[in-house]
């Protein structure tokens, strides 16, 4: 039939027909759905580094055809997590904005629960300039036409916690050995009296109390500027207990300005009990143990003021001190008081040594309670401390020898030895 048509008519029909065909073809192509490939080979496992049992490691593979999706770019991944129970939904827990990254850690989980994990790849239309920064950006990008392709679910799986941190094995062994030494020393102490070397600072305590009693002046006791959670403050409070018992016997006033309300409460109770034990409850003056301020230099100024006004015959500085140590000790020195200090703050020791008559250095602060009480059980604990020091000194000698010989034996032996002292 076409052959019967005149050539001119055929020419006229050819162009519109071709245009119609192109139009139909294009429309059909537009109707074809674009394939958005999902992340592949999702694998979820416990994080071996996480000993608390709160993390899972999530790994996946980037979709193979992610770069071939026309008109879209892979903007990143969304990691979904949910409990493994009926009806539980997965919720987005984390965003991985880097499309090349295919591993993440899911934290904040509980070891007692099982979880299901899923990863979604987010495809952002090329004309959209926004990025997948965080979970808040997801809603915006979806409104802009971003499409998500989710992987298959993985799980159930639970994070596994450890009941022991193997990195702390050396600490555990050292602690147990040292505790055993102290306990053995305490056990053997019950069989006989033990000799302890005299500590001049503690020998002078009685002299200081005697001096204050003779002069009719009070004793000032400062238990450092740390809180009650500091072991140095606790040691200072233990010393106060022994000291207060002696001052109670002589009915000598003891002034205790505090910079921590909890320390105040504990020290009042300690001094009160000491006075009761000494049989002088009526001599206890609660108003002499008072709160000043928690401001470091405010406290120093207040204590300096007390020293200048009340002129105590003896000043005790026990516990943890900072930059105020010399301000306190030097003012006390100017008042002519006998001064006994004790601290484990190595940076403040030179100041106390300079300005005080006697200074308990480091461990002597912790030995003071036992020394003053002369109780055999407490004295035995000092023996345990000494044995511990000998062991540490031996370790130092061995370490020094190994370090010296490492030139001949190689560095590995030193590293192996040092690894025992590292966490």
């Amino acid at each position: 039939m076409i052959s019967r048509l005149p050539l001119k008519t055929i020419r006229r029909l050819l162009l519109p027909t071709a245009a119609l065909c192109l139009l139909l073809g294009s429309a059909r192509a537009q109707q074809q759905p674009v394939e958005f490939p999902a992340p592949e080979r999702l694998a979820v496992s416990d994080d071996p580094e996480d000993l608390a049992g709160r993390q899972l490691v999530v790994k996946w593979h980037k979709p193979a055809a992610a770069d071939a999706v026309t008109g879209y770019r892979l903007g990143g991944y969304l990691v979904y997590v949910g409990e493994s129970r009926e009806g539980a939904e997965l919720s987005p827990a984390q965003v991985v904005p880097d499309p090349q990254k295919t591993e993440t850690l899911l934290s904040g989980l509980l070891p007692s629960k099982s979880y299901i994990v899923q990863v979604g790849a987010l495809y952002i239309p090329e004309q959209v300039t926004g990025e997948l920064i965080d979970l808040n950006a997801v809603a915006y990008l979806r409104n802009q036409g971003a499409v998500e392709a989710k992987s298959a679910r993985s799980g159930p799986i639970s994070p596994v916690g450890a009941l022991f941190d193997p990195k702390k094995t050396n600490v555990l062994i050292a602690t147990m050995v040292y505790c055993a030494i102290v306990l053995l020393a305490i056990y053997f102490a019950q069989r006989g009296e033990m000799y302890i070397r005299p500590i001049p600072g503690l020998e002078a305590v009685n002299d200081a109390i005697g001096r204050a009693t003779e002069m009719g002046r009070p004793i000032l006791y400062v238990s450092g500027l740390s809180g009650i959670t500091d072991i140095a403050t606790i040691a200072a409070m233990l010393i106060l207990g022994h000291l207060a018992k002696r001052t109670a016997a002589y009915e000598t006033s003891i002034i205790v300005p505090c910079n921590d309300p909890l320390v105040l409460t504990a020290e009042r109770e300690i001094v009160h009990q000491a006075y009761i034990e000494a049989g002088k409850p009526e001599a206890y003056e609660p108003e002499n143990i008072f709160y000043v301020t928690d401001s470091q230099f405010g406290y120093a100024a207040a204590v300096d003021g007390i020293m200048m006004r009340e002129r105590p015959a003896a000043n005790f500085f026990m516990g943890m001190f900072y930059a105020e140590s010399l301000i306190l000790a030097e003012t006390g020195n100017r008042t002519g008081a006998i001064q006994i200090a004790g601290t484990d703050a190595d940076t403040q020791l030179p100041f106390f040594i300079t300005a005080c008559d006697y200074t308990l250095m480091g461990e002597e602060l912790y030995a003071a309670g036992a020394y003053l009480s002369r109780n055999p059980l407490l004295v035995a604990q000092l023996k345990g401390q000494d044995i511990g020091k000998v062991l540490l000194a031996a370790a130092l000698v061995v370490g020094t020898a190994l370090a010296t010989l490492s030139a001949y034996l190689g560095p590995d032996i030193v590293k192996a030895f040092l690894s025992w002292f590292q966490i």
């Binding site: 484990d344 912790y366 030995a367």
Partner: protein
Amino acid sequence: MRLQIPIALGFLAGAFMIVQFFVPYYALQMYYEQLLDWAIIIGAFALVLGLGSLFRSHIDKIRSRHPDYIYSFVALISFAVMFFFGIFYGVNPRTTFDWIFNNIQVPLEATVFSLLAFFMASAAYRTFRARSVEATLLLVVAVIIMLGRVPITDYIKFVDIHGFSEWLMSIPATAAKRGILFGVALGIVATSLRILLGIERSHLGGGGGAGR
């Protein structure tokens, strides 16, 4: 019972703290954090006790017309002023509270801190009088350290004072410091142990120590 219950509680809390150090499991860490929160809460309550003590101490001084009772007036009025502005106008930057703090409290503290320089000088003068071998040694070492810290010794070419000063600080001084720290660490463990086991009871009203 008055002694046994606190000792038992102390032992349990202390033992838990030791165990949690070695056991990283989530549940134990959670309870550990809860215990720390409790400590903060107790601390907040204790602050009220501290304030009560502060007020009582100053009011007693005013009542008894203590020779320095004027200072008690200053302390109480200062407290009232800061309390008023803090409660009613807030403590944020650019508030009156903040202004008072920055222009009165901070300079006052700085003044006390600056006294340290003078106290250091007077303490050094007293200590460095070379009356014994130890004092002489201290004086010599201190002079070397001080010279090692000032730039003028750069011009002294025949002896390396900087290097010697650094050596003194990093070898003998550090060795002594570490020796002290070892003793401190052992003392801390031993003290903790005797409190946990109830051997040391002076803080509970057993001034003589154990066995009572």
